[in-house]
């Protein structure tokens, strides 16, 4: 029992925790349309406590487009909203708007059929009160129509137009005193007001129930009646306005034919719908309008005379409508009017076509403009299609056949335009047909970067100027390509190909637009010509510098050094865009450097280095070193006296100068043969000793190395001694003293005659079983007279 009591308490407490209290009317709420029903709680009103929160569940509507209408005078005391979902005020609440439109006693909510219940929620009560309220389920149209029915009737009444003027119009009616603009403005204002109302009425039709047409509903009948009245008033408004605008054009423009013609469309509508208007009005209109049109020729003629283009005549109305109006208003049409209508009509027709033509031409130009270069393969097929459209649109020139206006400027302009268009289309069609075929080939060639072939192909079709323009960049591409070839070859040291490419480019005269690229072509040639020159010069320099640096101590195969390719340019330039003098100058500049290295740097450095090494120890490959020095010396063209002195000192074939008497000087003696056994050695002395004597003579004293002279007592130490190639022998008048240990191995040749002004070369040859360098010391001086 206790347990049951506790459970009840919990339930009570749980209920007691809800924020909003549901008000459950009794009798239950009914969604049927049956007018306002009181909301009661067992015949009593619900009591609402101050700050209490309540809600009432309303069942869904039985049909679409229904309102739940709550009628109460408590709107100021309570705060409410209507929603299709409610959970004690939790969660997101979508409030359905109140469409009461300011009616203080009503709360009007759309209620649908999507949910079973819709909730009217009282979320605030300002004071304790009793809820006095009626509710009603009503179709929306009815509620709205019922609410504004009286208002609608008032609007219609207020905007009705007086038909007195309208009805008084006849052939003799005079519009003087009628303010057309004011009347038309009023008509427009009324029409506006009625149409606004009419629109609301029309909107209600959209929410009529499906079976409404057969309904006997009173509100619906009122609706139909009101609607009919509105329609009639609007028709009148429209017709009257057309009458007013038509006659206003006729009445108010006087000689202003343009102004008159501007109303042709209204006039034509007027005279074309006699059923809408009275016969009087129609007759007056025809009379007035034909009268005016009979004076229109001069107007048109003036237009024609002033026409200086082939655009359509811009008339206030269509010429055919004008013509039609005139014919509807009169049966007596002047021929000149017919001619001018015919002319303008045809001109305009042609002009329209020409306009289309020009539009397409513009499109064509736009396409060209949008595809300034390298069209894809579809470009010319499309262009050809466009061109054929243009061709098809080009009109036949009919205006020139109208004799009255055959010599008019407009006629000539049109004829010229048509002729040009025809000619142009033919030309372009043919060209585009060719281009259609060429472009794929060109594009393939371009893909393959065969620019020269493209240029040739385009040059064969020079008449296709538009195509040439589109491919004008090929010239640059070709030049850039050749530049690339040159550049690439320069990078890979392919100087020959680079130069040939430059030469070909320089001599190339065939371009799409030669004049446009001549400057660039020459600039490229000039630039890369210089780069080629710089590269050849640089590489030649690098090559020779490296070679020279590597061989500054080379003593073997020296001759081959100077035959090395390092001393010729890495490439022999054979082209200059500036001519043979420039070419020669460049070649010379490169060769000059190489020659400088060949004939100055290498021999000079090698000679000095090898010589320094040689003198440190003449027995360490001494022969090889002096021979290398001499061989290097053969190529030396410098002026360094020290170098020349070294060469001379090392060259056994160069006589060593004896220029001062009584002064020993050392002379290197080298073998002139190359044998592992005995070698022949030689040294030469050139005697050039200043002397006052007419026939100077000298003794030559030669201190020999002991190893050369030590066996002189057993066998002759020398092979041959000559003076100026004349053999000197002891058996002759010259005495050759043998070198022996007692005289310090000093040999003497005496006397040696000097040719005072000539060369005096003493040559000594001897043999030695070895391959080395000797030093001998030589001294010359005035001889003594010897007995034997």
């Amino acid at each position: 029992m206790k347990l049951k009591i506790m459970l009840m308490l919990l339930i009570i407490l749980g209920v007691g925790c809800s924020t909003f209290k549901e008000l459950e009317p009794d009798p239950e709420l009914s969604p049927l349309e049956k007018g306002y029903v009181q909301l009661k709680d067992d015949d009593e009103n619900f009591e609402l406590e101050k700050d209490g929160k309540y809600f009432i569940k309303f069942p869904k509507a039985v049909e679409k487009n229904f309102y739940l209408i709550l009628s109460t005078n408590l709107k100021g005391e309570i705060s409410t909203y209507f929603t299709d979902f409610f959970d004690d005020g939790k969660g997101e609440i979508k409030k359905i708007s109140d469409e009461s439109n300011g009616i203080d006693s009503l709360l009007v909510y759309r209620i649908g059929q999507d949910k079973e219940f819709y909730y009217w929620v009282i979320d605030n009560v300002k004071k304790d009160l009793l809820l006095t309220m009626n509710y009603r389920y009503s179709p929306i149209w009815r509620f709205k129509f019922e609410v504004k029915y009286e208002e609608y009737k008032g609007i219609l009444e207020d905007n009705k137009t007086d038909k007195k003027v309208y009805n008084s119009i006849n052939e003799n009616f005079n519009f003087n005193g009628l303010n057309f603009d004011k009347e038309i403005s009023l008509l427009d204002l009324r029409k506006k007001n009625i149409e606004a109302m009419n629109k609301e009425l029309a909107d209600l039709e959209d929410i009529f129930p499906n079976d409404m047409a057969n309904s006997s509903d009173a509100a619906y009948k009122n609706y139909l009646e009101l609607k009919s009245n509105v329609r009639n008033e609007l028709n009148f408004n429209t017709n009257f306005r057309l009458v007013l605008t038509s006659f206003r054009a006729s009445e108010e423009n006087g000689n202003n034919m343009g102004g008159f013609l501007a109303g042709v469309n209204d006039m034509l509508e007027l005279v074309s719908n006699p059923n809408r208007f009275s016969q009087d009005i129609i007759e007056k209109a025809k009379n007035d309008f034909s009268s005016k049109l009979s004076k229109s020729y001069s107007y048109f003629n003036s237009l024609l005379n002033n026409k200086n283009d082939v655009k359509p005549f811009e008339l206030p109305a269509d010429i055919n409508d004008i013509d039609k109006l005139y014919r509807m208003c009169s049966k007596n049409i002047p021929i000149e009017f017919s001619d001018v209508v015919n002319y303008i009509s045809k001109f305009n027709a042609q002009a329209e076509k020409m306009s289309i033509y020009y539009d397409k031409e513009s499109e064509m130009k736009t396409r060209f403009k949008n595809t300034p270069s390298y069209p894809d393969n579809s470009f010319y097929p499309n262009m050809l299609k466009l061109m054929r459209e243009m061709k098809s649109i080009v009109p036949t020139d009919e205006t020139s056949k109208i004799s009255r206006f055959a010599n008019y400027n407009s006629t000539n302009l049109m004829s010229t335009a048509v002729t040009n268009a025809k000619r142009n289309t033919v030309r372009l069609e043919l060209g585009f047909q060719v281009a259609e075929l060429l472009v794929p080939k060109l594009n393939n060639l371009k893909r393959d970067e065969q620019y020269k072939e493209m240029i040739n192909m385009l040059n064969e079709n020079r008449e296709l100027d538009y195509l040439l323009n589109q491919y004008s960049g090929i010239d640059n591409l070709y030049i850039d390509q050749q530049k690339g070839v040159v550049k690439n070859n320069l990078t890979k040291y392919g100087f020959g190909k680079a130069e040939n490419t430059l030469r070909q480019l320089f001599n190339e005269k065939v371009f799409i637009f030669p004049n446009n690229v001549e400057r660039k072509k020459n600039a490229v040639v000039e630039q890369y010509e210089e780069e080629l020159y710089d590269a050849v010069k640089r590489m030649s320099k690098v090559s020779v510098d490296s070679f020279v640096a590597r061989n500054q101590m080379t003593i073997t195969n020296v001759k081959a050094l100077y035959q090395d390719s390092s001393f010729v340019p890495v490439y022999q330039l054979s082209f200059s865009s500036k001519g043979s003098n420039d070419l020669a100058q460049k070649r010379a500049q490169i060769q000059d450097y190489l020659d400088e290295m060949k004939y100055h740097q290498l021999p000079e450095n090698a000679i000095k280095n090898i010589y320094n090494d040689f003198v440190r120890n003449i027995n360490n490959k001494g022969v090889e070193k002096v021979r290398a020095i001499v061989e290097h010396g053969r190529y030396y063209k410098g002026t360094d006296k020290s170098v020349k002195t070294i060469i001379d000192e090392c060259d056994v074939n160069t006589p060593k100068w004896i220029t001062k008497p009584m002064d020993y000087r050392e002379v290197y003696v080298a073998p002139v043969t190359t044998s592992k056994g005995t070698n022949e050695y030689m040294f030469k002395l050139r005697l050039q000793i200043p002397s006052d004597a007419q026939f100077p003579v000298f003794d030559i004293n030669i201190k020999l190395p002991e190893e050369v002279a030590k066996n002189a007592n057993k066998e002759q130490w020398y092979e041959k001694i000559t003076i100026n190639n004349k053999l000197i022998k002891n058996e002759g008048r010259v005495k050759i003293t043998a070198p022996v240990s007692s005289n310090g191995f000093e040999a003497q040749i005496s006397p040696v005659q000097m040719d005072k002004d000539g060369k005096n070369v003493l040559e000594v040859r001897f043999k030695y079983p070895g391959f080395k360098i000797f030093k001998v010391s030589v001294m010359a001086q005035k001889p003594i007279i010897k007995k034997n």
């Binding site: 006052d692 007419q694 003794d699 130490w717 002891n730 050759i736 003293t737 040999a747 007279i785 010897k786």
Partner: protein, 576 residues
């Protein structure tokens, strides 16, 4: 049959006997050097003066020593210590020589000869000393330009002489400071041969020396030399073999009567000495030339010019050597050139082989052989004496010059006795000048100042001092009868002044020790002689020596002609 066999056996026996006799009695010249000479031209040895007999000059080297001796080895001239040892030369050019101590003059020995046995024993010892050097230098100074040694020494010293000897027997010479005196030069200067201090100043023959050989008595009376006890000679005897003339010299060599022939007839190669197994030869520069010297008292200058140009020496030379004939005499020079006859043609008193022509100090002019011969006498008489050497060459030349094809019948050459020449009985005289030096010391005295006496060699040079004390030529040197050209500088002819000038030039040439002066004088002499036309300078003959292969060829080093016997002590016989 028996007779036939007997004949064969007899023949074989004769051959065998002949062979045996050959080996038993064949001539044996081993251990001796045998050199021929003209029997009536006994060489008179004076180590300081040139001699007309070349052999005389060569024997200087056999008998005498200098302080240093010129010698030779395989490489050329060397100087060996003789009576001195070079200690050095200081910065003041003082040359110090240490004299040999104990060197004996060869008269210190007693020599007895018994056949081939020579016995040498000590006699009165006569040692070499500095006084001998001093004596020798004074003699040389006295001889002046007559002696090449004077030129040699005087160019090194301002005052010929020395200081010393000191206690170490060192003498010191003051050399001039105008050059670097190399050892070679010092030894050359001091290579004059030294005579003992007790020698006569002007002897005809000097026999006492200190060298490797000394003269020994000979039963035949011919010159003979034997190695001295202290000498270095390897071959003990040097004998001179007398012959009437040089025509048989080659035969004598082939007959083993001699084993050294220092000059062949014509200087030509000998066909009979062509076997290299038996002989070898050494060629040297020419030392003999033939010339026709004109008698200035018989032929005027124009005539001399005509005769000079009449004698075409080229044609003479071609005939002399029979060029282009089967009998052509072949020659070879020391450079190995063969049959280069025309290299021996002379056109100046300075032969072509001399320094002066070879170095073009003198530029001889080739005569114009197309001259007017009308100014000549019918016959130009040329004398030639064949008795004092070169008989073969003289005989050949006489025949050639007498050939009208050569001299157009204008010349008559006659072989005459020496007296004819001495008396000057000739329009011109054909003379062989021997032993001339091709170096600076070419001897012009020999040509122009020699007594015209082929039997004796005398240079008629007189000098005097000028006011400044300087030596100059005394024109009395050439009197008209004391020279081949019969020049009389005391006569008054239109040529006299030119001749005096020539004589002065010759003296200047011979006396100067300056090479430049010699060159200048040589030019002047050649030019002036060309104007005076004193001789027709025909040609030189080659110098060719033959040796028997008895000698080791390698041991004989000959350089120059005058020194042919300089190394004689080193000659060796070939080992058998």
């Amino acid at each position: 049959m028996k007779n036939k066999k007997a004949l064969i056996y007899s023949s074989v026996a004769v051959v065998v006997i002949a062979v045996v006799l050959y080996f038993v009695f064949r001539k044996n010249l081993s251990e001796q050097i045998v050199i021929p000479y003209i029997s009536h031209q006994l060489p008179a040895i004076d180590p300081h003066l040139p001699n007309s007999n070349p052999l005389a000059d060569k024997l200087d080297e056999v008998e005498f020593d200098g302080l240093f001796n010129i010698s030779a080895n395989a490489s050329g001239i060397i100087y060996e210590d003789g009576l001195g040892t070079l200690l050095g030369i200081d910065e003041n050019n003082i040359v110090s020589i240490k004299l040999v101590t104990g060197a004996k003059w060869n008269d210190s020995y007693k020599v007895t000869v018994d056949g081939k046995e020579v016995k040498v024993t000590d006699g009165n010892v006569n040692l070499f000393s500095a006084e001998d050097v001093n004596f020798t230098l004074k003699r040389i100074q006295n001889l002046g330009s007559l002696s090449p040694d004077y030129i040699l020494v005087s160019q090194a010293m301002n005052e010929i002489g020395f200081e010393g000897p000191d206690a170490d027997n060192i003498i010191r010479f003051k050399f001039k400071g105008d050059r670097i005196w190399t050892e070679v030069d010092i030894k050359e200067v001091l290579s004059f041969k030294i005579l003992p201090k007790n020698s006569e100043l002007n002897a005809l023959n000097y026999a006492v020396g200190t060298s490797n050989y000394m003269p020994i008595p000979n039963e035949k009376g011919t010159p003979s030399f034997y190695k001295t006890p202290t000498g270095k000679a390897t071959i003990p005897f040097v004998n001179l073999a007398p012959f009437v003339d040089n025509s048989t010299f080659t035969t004598e060599l082939s007959n083993t009567n001699i084993n050294v022939l220092l000059d062949t007839p014509f200087g030509a190669l000998s066909s009979i000495l062509g076997d290299k197994e038996d002989y070898f030869y050494k060629s040297s520069i020419s030392t003999t030339f033939f010339a026709v010297l004109f008698n200035t008292q018989r032929l005027n200058s124009s005539q001399r010019y005509a005769v000079k140009n009449l004698i075409n020496n080229k044609k003479v030379l071609e005939r002399f050597y029979k060029v282009g004939t089967e009998q052509q005499r072949s020659i070879v020079d020391y450079k190995g050139n063969k049959n280069n006859y025309y290299d021996y043609l002379n056109y100046s008193v300075f032969p072509k082989s001399t320094y002066y022509v070879e170095e073009q100090i003198v530029m001889p002019r080739v005569p114009d052989y197309n001259v007017d011969l009308g100014i000549l006498p019918d016959t130009v008489r040329i004398a030639a004496c064949v008795n004092y050497g070169y008989r073969e060459e003289y005989s050949e030349l006489i025949e050639i010059l007498n050939d009208p094809k050569i001299t157009k019948g204008k010349i008559k050459v006659k072989a005459v006795q020496n007296n004819e020449i001495k008396s000057g009985n000739y329009d011109a005289v054909l003379v062989a000048f021997t032993g001339y030096r091709s170096n600076f010391l070419f001897d012009l005295y020999d040509v122009f100042f020699r007594e015209p006496n082929l039997e004796a060699y005398k240079i008629n040079l007189r000098t005097k001092e000028d006011g400044a004390g300087k030596s100059m030529l005394d024109y009395s040197s050439l009197r008209g009868d004391n020279n081949f050209c019969r020049i009389n500088l005391n006569a008054s002819t239109e040529e006299t002044e030119s001749l005096k000038m020539l004589a002065d030039y010759i003296y200047g040439f011979m006396s100067t020790r300056e090479i430049g002066d010699k060159q200048a004088y040589a030019e002047r002499i050649d030019a002036l002689e060309n104007e005076l036309n004193l001789g027709a300078w025909l040609f030189s003959v080659p110098s060719l020596a033959y040796f028997s292969t008895q000698f080791d060829q390698k041991s004989i080093n000959l350089y120059g002609v005058a020194s042919q016997l300089s190394t004689i002590e080193k000659w060796k016989e070939k080992k058998k």
